[in-house]
């Protein structure tokens, strides 16, 4: 049972890390435009670079 001495604090800490990441992402505006970037990645921007 001694495993809980590391497991519980470890998992709680992990949860806090995820929480911090989420707040950071919201503040950075990662959720501002859910559609634009999703389709932007599909746009071919490199036509002129192709040989």
């Amino acid at each position: 049972m001694n495993v809980i001495y590391t497991l519980i604090p470890g998992m709680t800490f992990l949860g806090l890390v995820f929480f911090a990441i989420m707040i950071w992402a919201v503040k950075k505006g990662q959720y501002e435009d859910m559609e634009g970037n999703a389709s932007r990645i599909l746009q071919d921007d490199d036509e002129d670079m192709m040989p």
Binding site: M1, I4, Y5, I8, P9, T12, G15, L16, F19, M22, I23, V26, E32, D33, M34, E35, G36, S39, R40, L42, Q43, E47
Partner: protein, 821 residues
């Protein structure tokens, strides 16, 4: 790569079908293309010219483009530093701005805009937000101008205007987001602590892990208290500074004591006591929910002034040495000559020198009929010039215009209005006092036996007098009531007034547009005995359809109401004389419509019988239009502003409820009196200016009345803010809607009654909720004083008390079950 399937048959750009006969062609890349309109054609040509034609391959299948929107007017004004100041984030050479864009439909637009803008010299960054339809633009002001960039966007089919994200989204929203983060954090900590608590309750509090679980609880509760609990401490200390016991105080005391006691147990490794860390986080989480709900319905106080300022145009066209010059309104001096083009807003107060036009002054006076202006007439800043150009001599600028005076009144009313006294606020100080006395008593009584037990019992009194339910009582009821109101056309902007409205003892109504429809209609038709009434009406409507006067619309509407086919009547030689009347030939006979003077001038003898009746109607404040057919005076149309259908019912219901009423109007006394008489009589204060409306409300409040004001115009704005409850009609001006606490959608005046009922029900629910939380305390506090409460009981009963309050608030919806007819 997919090709637009619609292109083969419809417009090459937008895919809409091309109207037969009208078509636009262009040879692009060697292929002839068809377009539905000139807009599409020029946009498409611009796209091809820029070499961005692969845009058409990028548009996803099935997405139909739309013809380009109208490009924005007057974009040069955005080049002025003073104007840009409001929008740009950084000044200097490199500037950042957000543009709100019309015409973005799909991902291909993102590509086209970003490509198109980056080709412009001086553009450093162009980033499109597809979801919000916005562009973040950074440009070098030395290399290009903002207007050039906006124009470049217009060329490829997008209409863009600067947009200030700070103001548009509001500081309040931002504060609410901060609250949401705290709420999330408290939720996270609470869920983890529940597991630890369950472990403790199920026996771990006796075993080897006792201390470990205590320390875990401490580790989770500490950041929660400091971060998520911070607003309560700030509120409590802020309240104490001004010698007021706020709701935050019992919460802060409860949290601190619970936390301190639990920490004491943890640190001293005490083997008897229990920790209450889960109670700390539970409490924070539940009360934050209440706070968050409350924040959603907070009043945005500053926006009314901002909307008012927006009414004032930023630039004016000044005539200098015979040349038109666009300058900032701020730079216009007294005595300058300003040109006001049709369709533009009047930038200053002034006197007309030349020109004739109708001006829409509805934002100032509430009258919807445009007022005709010619040389010598006064015009006011913020009103809209409808149809002719006017040359105006400036006689007051910026701070002294009528509009600015209203702005100042609004600001004054906002700053001097007493804060709303909530029911909970009046109870809380006593609640805090009693709690502290009980805790102290408990401590001293038990201390005679055992210090350990005395400390525990006193602490549990403080913990168990859960302000949870009390804290949720008001916000939860208001949140439910606001949500239900919105569903039924009552938009509650400031939730706190729901408590106040139920106590309103006096209603003040604006006349035009509130009790009446705000537009003229035919109230009476008088005809000479020897003619057919309907023929006259048909001929009159046929002539009036060429006129733009407000009376003309009324006569046409009357004719339509009687299903008379006036459109087929042939009308020749129509002419209008401003201020007098109109004249035209119908079926070979001359029809004259206008004032008595108009008939006399045309040599027509007035019918004495009709004239006498007309005078009687004019005494009742109706305006009469005289009609002559073939040189004989045959009819009189009496026009009046019609009462709203539901006005009568509302007024009589309020009267039977014993509520005082006042009619406030900027209109003539006779008109206001006539309306009041139709409604069965009420106090009438007519011919008032906006500042008087504000003063009337103040006077009523000084008499100790709780005043609700119902209005719709800009001139009502100061009064709406001053009143204890401001109610605006949804059809009203933006400013009145911003100033009001409650907005009635769909213009239903009878919604006033529903809103009153809703507010009564809300207050009742708040009272019940407070009663419930007292009941809970009446049971739990004696138990705590007897030292019979343990953490398990606290953890179970506290959420239950909150749930009961939430459940009771949800019962407000029963009110609408009967109302749904």
């Amino acid at each position: 790569m997919n090709q637009h399937s619609a292109h083969s048959t419809g417009c090459f750009h937008c895919g809409l079908p091309i109207t037969a006969g009208i078509s636009f062609h262009a040879k692009l890349d060697g292929t002839d293309r068809n377009f539905c309109c000139l807009g599409c054609q020029s946009v498409c040509a611009a796209i091809f010219d820029a070499g961005l034609q692969s845009y058409y391959q990028r548009t996803p299948e099935g997405v139909l483009l739309a013809p380009p929107p109208e490009p924005p007017k007057d974009i040069e004004i955005y080049d002025f530093d003073e104007v840009q100041q409001e929008f740009i984030i950084t000044s200097g050479e490199l500037r950042d701005i957000h543009l709100l864009v019309e015409g973005i439909h799909c991902a291909a637009c993102v590509w086209l805009i970003e490509r198109g803008l980056k080709r412009e010299p001086g553009v450093q960054l162009a980033n499109v937000n597809l979801a919000a339809k916005r562009i973040h633009l950074r440009w070098n002001n030395n290399q290009t101008k903002l207007s050039t960039l906006i124009r470049a966007l217009a060329r490829i089919g997008y209409s863009a205007v600067p947009y200030d994200p700070e103001n548009a989204e509001g500081v309040i929203k931002k504060a609410n987001r901060g609250m949401l983060f705290r709420l999330f954090f408290a939720g996270f900590a609470m869920m983890n602590l529940i597991w630890i608590s369950i472990a403790l309750y199920s026996g771990a509090n006796k075993g080897e892990f006792r201390e470990f679980f205590h320390w875990m609880g401490f580790a989770l509760a500490t950041p929660t208290l400091l971060y998520a609990g911070y607003p309560f401490y700030r509120g409590a200390i802020g309240g104490l500074r001004v010698w007021r016991l706020t709701m935050d105080l019992p919460i802060a005391i409860g949290l601190s004591v619970t936390y301190a006691y639990s920490t004491y147990i943890t640190v001293t490794a005490n083997t008897i006591g229990e920790v209450y860390f889960d109670t700390v986080t539970n409490l924070i989480f539940v009360i934050l929910i209440g706070r968050y709900l409350e924040g959603m319905f907070r009043h945005q106080a500053l926006s009314a002034t901002k909307r008012l300022l927006e009414l004032q145009p930023r630039v004016a066209t000044v005539i200098q040495d015979g040349k038109e010059q666009i300058t900032l309104t701020r730079g216009v001096k007294l005595g300058d000559h300003v040109l006001i083009k049709p369709g533009y807003k009047v930038p200053v107060d002034g006197i007309v020198l030349e020109g004739k036009s109708a001006i829409d002054e509805s934002m100032l006076s509430g009258e919807s009929v445009p007022v005709s202006k010619s040389a010598g007439a006064k015009v006011f800043a913020g009103t809209v010039n409808a149809n002719g150009a006017l040359l105006v001599k400036v006689n007051s600028t910026l701070q002294n215009t009528t509009l600015s005076k209203i702005i100042r009144l609004v600001e004054e009313a906002q700053s001097s209005k007493a804060p709303i006294q909530r029911l909970a606020d009046t109870i809380v100080p006593w609640f805090v006092l009693v709690t502290i006395i009980c805790a102290t008593l408990t401590y001293f009584i038990w201390n005679t036996e055992n210090f350990e037990i005395a400390l525990m019992a006193a602490t549990s009194v403080l913990i168990i007098t859960c302000p949870c339910a009390l804290g949720m009582a008001t916000p939860m009821s208001i949140a439910v009531a606001s949500g239900l109101g919105a569903k039924h056309g009552i938009l509650v902007k400031n939730g706190l007034v729901l408590e106040t409205l139920s106590k309103a003892t006096h209603f003040v109504f604006d006349k035009t547009g509130t009790l009446t429809e705000g537009k003229m209609s035919v109230a009476h038709r008088l005809t000479a005995s020897n003619v057919v009434e309907e023929d006259i009406l048909r001929s009159a409507a046929a002539v009036e359809r060429y006129s733009e006067h407000g009376a003309a619309k009324a006569i046409i509407a009357e004719s339509e109401a009687h299903q008379l086919n006036y459109r087929d009547v042939i009308v020749n030689a129509f002419s209008a004389t401003a201020g007098l009347g109109v004249q035209a030939d119908v079926n070979g006979e001359t029809v004259l419509l206008g004032s008595t003077e108009w008939l006399i001038r045309n040599g027509i003898a007035l019918n004495t019988g009709l004239q006498a009746q007309a005078q009687e109607l004019e005494a009742q404040a109706m305006s009469c239009v005289f009609c002559a057919l073939g040189g004989v005076h045959v009819a009189v149309f009496a026009l009046a502003d019609k009462l709203r259908d539901d006005a009568q019912q509302l007024v009589s219901e309020l009267r039977s409820a014993g509520i005082g009423m006042t009619l406030l109007s900027g209109d003539r006394k006779a008109v206001a009196d006539a309306i009041a008489r139709q409604l069965g009589g009420m106090e009438v204060i007519a011919e008032v200016l906006p500042q008087d409306k504000d003063r009337v409300i103040q006077r009523l409040q000084q008499e100790g009345k709780v005043v609700a004001m119902v209005g719709d115009g800009i001139n009502d704005a100061p009064a709406l803010i001053r009143a204890d409850v401001g109610i605006a009609l949804g059809s009203g001006t933006d400013v009145s809607v911003e100033s009001a606490d409650i907005v009635l959608m769909h213009n239903g005046l009878d919604k006033v009654r529903l809103a009153t009922m809703l507010s009564r029900r809300t207050l009742l629910t708040i009272k019940q909720n407070i009663g419930l939380s007292f009941l809970y305390n009446a049971i739990m506090v004696p138990l705590a004083m007897m030292a019979k409460v343990n953490p398990l009981i606290a953890a179970i009963t506290m959420p239950i008390s909150s749930l009961v309050v939430i459940g009771n608030a949800a019962r407000i919806r029963n009110l609408f079950k009967n109302e749904k007819s």
